[in-house]
């Protein structure tokens, strides 16, 4: 069995939004029995880092053609659709 999946968490804010999102993702997936490693970055850094990760979750638009699935969502800040996005992430990670 391979190691923990790696998720790149990107935001366009100048504040710790990506930390809030990363923690919420880790907790939400842990509750589904899935361990992940997250790393945070700014939106501009995503293309350069993408290939080191299994999934990108971002609160701001980023390029989609990076060879890595991208989920653009505010669910981890606003709660809207959070459970659905977590289910989507779990499914995506289980396929790889």
């Amino acid at each position: 069995m391979s190691g923990a999946k790696r998720i790149l968490v990107a935001c366009g804010t100048a504040i710790a939004t990506s930390t809030v999102v990363a923690k919420a993702i880790e907790e939400g997936l842990a509750a589904r029995g899935i361990q992940v490693v997250t790393r945070q970055c700014k939106a501009a850094e995503v293309p350069g880092l993408a290939k080191e990760f299994d999934l990108i979750v971002t609160t701001t638009p980023v390029p989609q053609n990076l060879g890595v699935p991208v989920i653009q969502t505010l669910a981890f800040l606003t709660g809207v659709g959070k459970e659905e996005v977590l289910d989507q992430i779990a499914e995506l990670l289980s396929k790889e």
Binding site: T13, T73, L74, L77, T78
Partner: protein, 170 residues
């Protein structure tokens, strides 16, 4: 329940949103024509109170153009969290406005989309990855439509503080 004046002294409790507001940083029932007006009014309050440099207001507005901060919430009240790069901030604080009529911000994750914000929180944060706990508490607040409604209906600074304290009140 003791009222915290300024920083918390309980070492087990990280500062939350309530610790970063003051009466002079809160405008309730503001009549505003657009997002820029709200940003300027709250930025001015932050500047007068000594939390931000005079470059802050323009920096917030400029940043909002390229990195919008509108957040559509689950209920009927939406928020925006404008802020600037840390170099424009002297000390951390939050300035809050509730609006009689919503103003248009752009959706953070989908800038083509409008968010009609009735609550605007201008965030003066001076370290890029500090105040994570405070931001987490704000996110929890945003996820609770009833608390958002209570914040919108606040009539006094004490009302605002109580809502911001939320679950952190022991």
């Amino acid at each position: 329940m003791s009222a915290h004046q300024g920083r918390v002294t309980d070492h087990n409790v990280q500062p939350g949103p309530a610790d970063f507001v003051r009466p002079e940083l809160v405008i309730l029932g503001m009549e505003a024509g657009d997002a820029r007006e709200v940003i300027q009014a709250l930025s001015r309050r932050l500047h007068v109170a000594g939390f931000v440099r005079d470059t802050f207001a323009d920096a917030v507005w400029q940043r909002e153009q390229t990195n919008p901060t509108g957040l559509p919430l689950a209920g009927e009240i939406h928020v925006a969290i404008p802020h600037a790069d840390i170099e424009h901030v002297i000390a951390p604080a939050l300035a809050v406005a509730t609006l009689v009529r919503p103003v248009v911000f752009r959706n953070m994750v989908n800038p083509e989309e409008e968010v009609h914000a009735s609550i605007v929180i201008v965030m003066a944060l001076h370290e890029a990855h500090a105040q994570v706990e405070m931001l987490q508490q704000l996110a929890s607040l945003f996820q609770d439509a009833e608390r958002v409604r209570r914040l919108y209906r606040a009539r006094t600074f004490e009302d605002v503080q109580k809502v911001l304290q939320g679950d952190s009140v022991r």
